[in-house]
């Protein structure tokens, strides 16, 4: 305990001295730092902050120091997180490399692979995207058809991915491909490759909310060196499931917080139907709002309980994904009811920024229960894994 207390003190001091004031403010979506070969630092303090955290190994606090991580224990990492929250520090770097590929490689990668891929992730030098879904393989992910043919010294990749997040900005992709067409799940492999390889075309997809963070990605005779296969040939499905569980828990949390740009649910509700004292006079709207705030509390408790459970089961991850995203959709609908015509604006100066953000967030929330495995898929998983209901 004494060791942890001194860690807390040191950390607090370091953060106070090193986190620039501009990095202690709420972060608009477009000021996120994603790193990559051509990094964008919209906020003037963002690069300083990222570089200082990289130097300390705290872009990946729990990873080993040899790969640029912080080498912290679980308890230390929690303290770091608490102290960052206390000061209101922004996360210095966002990346699917830190959140998804890195942990996977730490778990199953060879020494060579770890040395090759992990340091550029902790240093924010490579922007990774993920290639899972295909036009004909959404809920039925294992039905994917993108082929990787063994051409001796390389794989030749042909096919199409969809819903590749930020593929138009990404440097590399981690990608599920079919290496055996005679079987379904057992014919899938996991490849990493450079998005600058010849034969790759990326088209952003415009969403109903007006944003374009997802892409269609086309592969036409893309050559991938064979040493960029991770795990066993045809052993990709196990990797996919591991990554999916992780993605689900990320999305469920995102959903519970109601996205990033929108002020908290209670504040938004008060904005539209609160009186001067923050009370909500209309008893029916008040009841709708209270209902969702109650659900939020119960969901929070459940998330904590699930984290506490030794090795959260797939069924619980699915429960959190399902409930968190459906809950977020309900909250958005409640806010739309509160906002009335003020929430129906698409653009223009006549609407306040928060009003426009509400409308876009409401539309965007509809995707939460689709991306990362639809609600229907989550319910299937729960029925099978948690309840043992027969096929």
């Amino acid at each position: 305990m004494i060791k942890l207390d001194s860690f807390r003190n040191e950390t607090r001091t370091w953060l106070e001295e090193n986190c620039p004031p501009g990095m202690r403010t709420p972060m608009p979506d477009d000021e996120r730092v994603w790193g990559g070969k051509k990094p964008v630092f919209k906020h003037p303090d963002a690069k300083t902050w990222m570089d200082r955290m990289i130097e300390r190994g705290w872009t990946a606090p729990r990873w080993p120091r040899e790969y640029g991580g912080g080498g912290l224990s679980l308890a230390e990492a929690e303290i770091l997180s608490e102290e960052m929250n206390r000061l209101g520090c922004r996360p210095p770097l966002f990346s699917f490399g830190l959140g998804m590929l890195g942990p996977l490689l730490l778990d199953i990668g060879t020494a060579t692979e770890k040395e090759r891929y992990l340091p550029p992730i902790t240093r924010g030098e490579i922007w990774w995207c993920q290639g899972y879904s295909e036009p004909g393989a959404g809920s039925d992910l294992a039905g994917l058809q993108t082929r990787a043919e063994d051409k001796g010294d390389h794989y030749l990749v042909n096919g199409q991915k969809v819903w590749t997040s930020y593929a138009h900005h990404a440097d590399w992709i981690f990608c599920l491909v079919r290496t055996d067409t005679s079987v379904k799940h057992a014919g899938i492999s996991f490849l990493l490759f450079d998005m600058e390889s010849p034969g790759i075309e990326v088209r952003p997809i415009k969403l109903i909310s007006g944003t374009s963070v997802f892409c269609e990605t086309f592969f036409d005779d893309v050559r991938v060196p064979k040493d960029q296969l991770i795990g066993e040939i045809n052993g990709g499905w196990a990797i996919a499931k591991q990554l999916l569980a992780h993605e689900r828990s990320m999305i469920s949390q995102l959903g519970a917080r109601g996205g990033n740009r929108l002020p908290p649910f209670k504040d938004m509700a008060r904005r539209y139907v609160g009186d001067g004292n923050g009370r909500i006079a209309d008893p029916l709207l008040r009841d709708l709002i209270a209902r969702e705030l109650i659900n939020d509390r119960a969901f929070e408790s459940t998330s904590k309980r699930a984290m506490g459970a030794a090795g959260a089961a797939a069924g619980l991850a699915s429960m959190l994904k399902y409930y968190g995203t459906e809950q977020n959709k309900r909250k958005m609908e409640v806010l739309m009811k509160c906002a009335g015509s003020a929430g129906l604006g698409w653009e223009g100066d006549e609407f306040a920024d928060d009003d426009l953000v509400l409308c876009r967030s409401w539309l965007r929330s509809k995707g939460n229960s689709i991306e990362g495995g639809t609600s229907e898929v989550q319910l299937n998983v729960i029925a099978k894994r948690e309840l043992g209901l027969p096929d």
Binding site: D140, L207, I208, L344, G345, I370
Partner: protein, 380 residues
């Protein structure tokens, strides 16, 4: 009593309207208006065609240049236009402003306004709401009497097609306090009068409304419709007609949303089978079917009551709008979810239906408003 259409007449009208909107105003038309950020927000040529069909004058008496077919006929047309999300000043003009003039305008007002509406050359917008949630008697815009007429001061919001209106049907207060039913008056005024400041607002459904500010706007005394202070007596029944009308449009919109979704369920395959073969989706589709049919019955009953001037019309209108709101919220949400990722793309039409649904839900009162009003009306 409005002339009643026979079953056959109604079927004929429905087929005509279905064909018309399908051919002349497909969903691509709405996309084009949106993507080129059209200044008007609807196609005036199409509006003229709609008028030529006699539909702009459908609620207007033959003596005033209309065709006077009544609410059930109107419902048939709106249901069809709802299927193709046709953008037009129908709601602003035909459904809400013109019926006020029809029911209470003096001969001069009728003559100046109604033939123009019927012919599709005049856009009149109801300038009514002052807060983001429908509140018919929450009027603080003041019309102060003076020797030359009235001076108007106040602010209106969510005025449909207000940026291109020739005339405003203005709801203002000549007496009384905010929320009071008494003291509300109605005025038919030129939109270009000095002191009127119009700001177009682009809505999520790619249609347009406006914020309108009135600063010391001087209007002539003969602008008033009906008797000063008794405007709510005229307005309230017209709002009921508008509510039933928008509920008809919602019915068409929801039915089309549902049709598209059922088609998708039959064709989209996952796990080696059409997703419509999965029982969970089947049951949810069947539940939507039930809700649509219930809303349909409610809408038809309300339209019939309007034509028959039944004593329980207001109640039936509440039932219709309340059911239509709940139903379309369910259907539009389920449609997007059942389309999966495709439903989230701007390229697919399903999102346009979702967007229109929420705007229509708010128009003339959402489900909460109508449940409360229903409870008031039946005395619980």
């Amino acid at each position: 009593m409005i002339e009643q259409l026979t079953q056959e007449d109604r079927k004929l009208l429905r087929d005509t309207a279905a064909r018309f909107f399908h051919e002349r105003s497909p969903i691509t038309a709405l996309r084009q208006l949106r993507d080129k950020k059209d200044a008007v927000g609807f196609d005036p040529g199409l509006w003229r065609e709609i008028s030529d069909m006699g539909w702009a004058g459908i609620l207007i008496d033959e003596n005033d240049g209309g065709v006077g077919l009544g609410s059930q006929a109107l419902g048939v047309i709106l249901e069809q236009s709802g299927r193709s999300l046709a953008a037009s000043p129908f709601v602003a003009t035909v459904l809400s402003a013109a019926p006020i003039i029809s029911s209470a305008g003096n001969p001069e007002q009728r003559g100046n306004a109604l033939p123009g509406v019927s012919n599709g050359v005049l856009v009149i917008s109801l300038a009514h709401e002052e807060s983001p949630r429908h509140a018919p008697h929450q009027i603080s815009t003041r019309a102060a009497k003076n020797v030359d007429g009235y001076t108007i001061n106040g602010k209106k919001t969510f005025v449909l097609d207000g940026h291109v209106a020739d005339l405003f049907l203005l709801v203002a207060r000549t007496a009384g306090q905010n929320e009071e039913r008494a003291g509300i008056s109605l005025f038919l005024i030129d939109s270009s009068l000095p002191g009127i400041n119009i700001k177009r607002t682009t809505m999520v459904d790619s249609r347009n409304a406006a914020h309108i500010q009135f600063d010391n706007v001087q209007i002539p005394a003969n602008s008033i419709i009906g008797k000063a202070g008794y405007g709510a007596e005229i307005l309230d029944p017209v709002l009921d007609g508008a509510r039933a009308g928008i509920a008809s449009e919602m019915l068409g919109t929801a039915q089309k949303t549902f049709d598209i979704t059922i088609e998708y369920l039959k064709t989209r395959e996952q796990f080696g089978a059409p997703i419509g073969s999965f029982q969970a989706l089947k049951h949810r589709a069947a539940e939507m079917f039930c809700e649509i049919e219930l809303a349909r019955s409610a809408v038809y009953s309300a339209l019939q009551a309007l034509d028959q001037k039944a004593s329980n019309t207001a109640e039936l209108v509440c039932v219709a709008k309340a059911k239509a709101c709940d139903m379309i919220e369910l259907v539009s949400n389920e449609a997007v979810q059942m389309h999966g990722g495709v439903g989230m793309t701007d390229e697919a039409n399903i999102g346009l239906f979702l967007k229109r649904a929420r705007v229509a839900q708010q128009l003339f009162g959402d489900v909460i408003f109508h449940r409360q009003r229903f409870a008031d009306l039946i005395g619980i």
